[in-house]
Amino acid sequence: MMKKKKNIFIEGAISPEFIAESIAKHQTKMNIGAHNIFLGQVRADEVEGKKVSAIEYTCYKAMAEEKLSEIRERAFEKYDLTCMHIYHSLGNIKAGEICFFVFVSSKRRKQVYVATEDIVNMVKTDVPIFGKEIFEDQDYQWKENTF
C-alpha cells in the first residue's frame, strides 16, 4: 500500500490562523490531554552591521518528503504520541514571520517536550532544506544550521 504523502511544505509564511486551524482540528480528539507546539520565527539578525530582512527557503523535495516520513515513523516509535504534524515554509519568509511548525499531541504531557525537541532537531539535521539570508540591501548569505 502506498503511504499517503502529507502536505508538509507551505509556499510562504505559516500564518497564526493556519496554526489556530490545526489546533481546532484536534478538539474532536477526546483522548488528547497535552499539545506541544514549536514555532521557528525568522530573526532579523545582524551580520557585520547588516540586518537580515528575510530568508528564502528551497528544498530537495523528493528527499525531504522521504526524510520527513522517516522522522514521523521514528517519533511514533520512540514516543507515546496521538498525533504529530510538521510544516515548513518555502520561498521568501520575512523577519518576524513563522517558517517552521511542529505540532505534537499526546494523552499525557510527560513526553511531548522531548518529542518536540527531538523532531525539531531531526528536521534541522536530516531534511535537505536550504536557506538564503537576505539582507536589507539585497545582499545575502547562505544559512547553515548550528547545533
Binding site: 530568508i55 527557503y57 528551497t58 528527499m63 534541522k124 536530516d126 535537505p128 532544506i129 536550504f130 547553515e144
Partner: protein, 95 residues
Amino acid sequence: MKKLKQVQLDDNQKKENMINIKYFGAIAEVTNCSSENIKKSSSSLNDIIQEIYSKYDLKHIPLKFALNQKIIETTEGIDVNINDEIAVLPPFAGG
C-alpha cells in the same frame, strides 16, 4: 515546443550514457544550474563525484551527496546506474 525538444534530448543523452545530477542552494549558485546531464565515463560513484568536484572546483565548500534521495556516508565501492538520481547538497538550513 522548446521544452519538448529538451525532453527528447535528455532521452537521447540517456541512451548515450549520460547521468543526471541535481544541485541545490549554494551549490546550484556555483554550478549556475539546478540540474545537468554529465557523461557517465565510469560506473563508480566515486569517479563521478571526483569529476563534479574538479569541474566546479567545489573542494572548499562543505557538501553532501545523495544517491536516490539517501545521503551517501561513503562513496567508495558504490556503482551508479543510468536512472539513479545523484544530488549535491550544501549544508541544511531548515527550521
